[in-house]
């Protein structure tokens, strides 16, 4: 088996925690498949800084490029660069975090490398098969990738972040782009016209130790802010939401937890006014401790909650905020 290439994502040079989780998944894959070691690729503004950091995580070599081509993420130049790096580094497996970037560009890599791909894996089995959720996590599949080259996207919450090693760092070098004649600015790459990013005032949802999520029961954006935000802030928690709350405009789209939103596994997940539909459970049922506040004693969320409080959220959530603030101060 060739090497395992990890596409490491970062924010202006700061490596994403989820990419460190992808690195530990890569290590498990390398062991299970008898690969010849781990290499990495970093793209975009700040790539050199991130590459230097990644070199300390037990990788043989790291390639980076901060070419203007990669200034804003676009699927095709990113996909092409990842495939190019794989061939230059002798990698037969490509691994990345299954966040919106990884989900978007990895299949393009699969085509370029003629690889089979497994999405969103949660474990590497001893026999080399990969475990991944299907049907909103109601069924787990063990899949085998039957091709020489392989692409794997990793569910961050299912693997611990890799740790910085004490061994000498791997080599760091620039990715030469000449190897792919199509990898120059092309009209078909398109243009990012802009972003509408939600303000990051709280911990990152995907990495947070505590998450407080609100559902349809909040009934308005004002209530969501008045009830959920103070509780989250008292707990130093990230804020999540059900699809119903996002659809109704109470919370931005990237706060959605579930099958089609983000998958979280914090130490403590507090579901406030959320019924517990399977698609929502798919995104939070691996949390260590789950608390549910719901006025309907038969709400399905109580079937997964460690602690259930049957009550009107508008009464008890503020009480909980006050109680937590009392403890934390």
């Amino acid at each position: 088996m060739g090497k395992v290439l990890v596409f490491v994502q970062h924010d202006q040079g700061r490596v994403l925690k989820g990419s460190l989780c992808a690195l530990s998944a890569a290590r498990q894959l390398a062991t299970a498949w008898g690969s010849e070691g781990i290499v990495a690729l970093v793209l975009g503004p700040g790539a050199k800084t991130a590459a230097d950091e990644v070199s300390h995580f037990g990788v043989q070599s790291v390639l980076y490029s901060d070419s203007p081509l990669f200034e804003r993420y676009r699927s095709e130049p990113y996909g092409r660069a990842i495939a190019l790096a794989a061939s230059q580094l002798g990698a037969s497996t490509v691994v990345a975090l299954a966040n919106s970037t990884g989900k978007d560009c990895l299949p393009r890599v699969s085509v370029l490398l003629d690889a089979a791909q497994a999405s969103d894996i949660t474990a590497v089995n001893g026999d080399g098969t990969l475990k991944r959720p299907m049907y909103a996590g109601n069924i787990m599949a063990d899949v085998e990738l039957q091709s020489a080259n392989r692409v794997v996207s990793v569910r961050g919450t299912a693997f611990p972040p890799a740790e910085r090693g004490s061994a000498p760092p791997g080599s760091v070098g620039e990715l030469p782009l000449a190897g792919d004649a199509e990898l120059h600015e092309q009209p078909r790459f398109g243009e990012v016209l802009g972003y509408e990013l939600s303000k990051a005032e709280r911990p990152e949802l995907a990495d947070a130790e505590i998450v407080v999520s609100g559902g349809r029961a909040l009934a308005s954006a004002e209530n969501f802010q008045k009830v959920i935000f103070p509780l989250a802030d008292a707990l130093k928690a990230a804020v999540g939401a059900s699809r119903a709350a996002v659809d109704s405009g109470y919370a931005p789209n990237d706060w959605q937890v579930g099958q089609t939103g983000k998958v979280v596994a914090p130490n403590l997940y507090i579901a406030v006014g959320i019924s517990g539909a399977i698609q929502h459970l798919a995104g939070m049922k691996d949390s260590k401790v789950i608390v549910a506040i719901n006025k309907d004693p038969d709400a399905p969320i109580f079937e997964v909650a460690d602690y259930g409080l049957v009550a009107d959220l508008f009464q008890v959530a503020p009480e909980l905020t006050t109680a937590v603030a009392g403890i934390r101060s």
């Binding site: 560009c105 085509v111 791909q117 969103d120 939600s198 130490n267 401790v289 109580f302 403890i327």
Partner: protein
């Protein structure tokens, strides 16, 4: 402008699925099938583009056994113009689906492929991107808004952190997210009329597509569920349990 809308038939998400005794697959005898939720949204979006005078024709395509026809007819009743069924009884992974769809795409003169961002059965989320890459076309995935501006698609994408607006030239592949629209219901009279719309059956063989799959499912299992914990009577009891028992505060 002609639009191709690939759809997949999936088990209704409201039913509780059972595994076959040997764990090799899901029990599908007599279950209720639906059009994959995201694909239905793609059908709706295509129809809206047609209603706005932007699209001229909507062609549906699906890969699967003969009775997938009923799902295609439902989407025809929603307002699509014609359908292609690539009849195939064996397993289909994202890779095979994308190869079949690429072959269908090449037979027509399509400016746009609109399809779901993931199928709610396999949850792989690969096919749209695989298809785009195979055809060397641009892609805009996870769309919550689609506009056609001359020779380009302007797509608002749901990404980590919020929304991104991406402009890509046609032809291109756009994958739909949940908030793009709310699909209409097909009216009963339209269901009758849909049976008369053009319907082509073809096969992988006729399309020149090899049947091999690259992702082999070795075993399925039902994960151990969480057990329900306990009900607490008050906020004070909850806080005390979180502090002293669960030790998460």
């Amino acid at each position: 402008m002609k639009i191709l809308v690939p759809i997949k038939r999936v088990p209704d998400w409201q039913i509780k699925l059972k595994l076959l005794p040997d764990g090799s697959g899901v029990q599908t005898d007599g279950i209720k099938w639906i059009i994959n939720t995201f694909d239905e949204i793609a059908v709706e979006e295509a129809i809206r583009l047609k209603e706005r005078g932007i699209a001229s024709e909507i062609v549906l395509v699906s890969i699967g056994p003969a009775d997938v026809r009923q799902r295609l007819e439902y989407a025809l009743a929603m307002g699509a113009d014609s359908a292609i069924l690539v009849k195939h009884d064996g397993p289909v992974d994202s890779d095979l689906a994308s190869r079949a769809l690429a072959a269908v795409f090449k037979r027509g003169d399509y400016a746009l492929v609109l399809m779901g961002k993931q199928a709610i059965d396999s949850d792989s989320g690969q096919t749209a991107q695989l298809l785009a890459a195979r055809l060397n076309l641009p892609q805009a995935c996870f769309a919550s808004k689609v506009a056609i501006d001359g020779g380009a698609a302007v797509v608002t994408r749901e990404v980590d952190g919020g929304l991104e607006t991406l402009k890509i030239p046609l032809p291109c592949v756009v994958s739909t997210d949940l908030r793009l629209n709310e699909p209409r219901y097909a009216a009963l009279p339209n269901l009758m009329k849909a049976k008369k719309k053009p319907f082509e059956e073809t096969s992988l063989e006729a399309l020149g597509v090899a049947q091999e799959v690259k992702v082999r499912v070795k075993a399925l299992s039902i994960p151990l569920g969480r057990k329900a914990g306990k009900k607490v009577a008050s906020v004070a009891e909850l806080v005390s349990a979180l502090q002293n028992e669960a030790k998460v505060l």
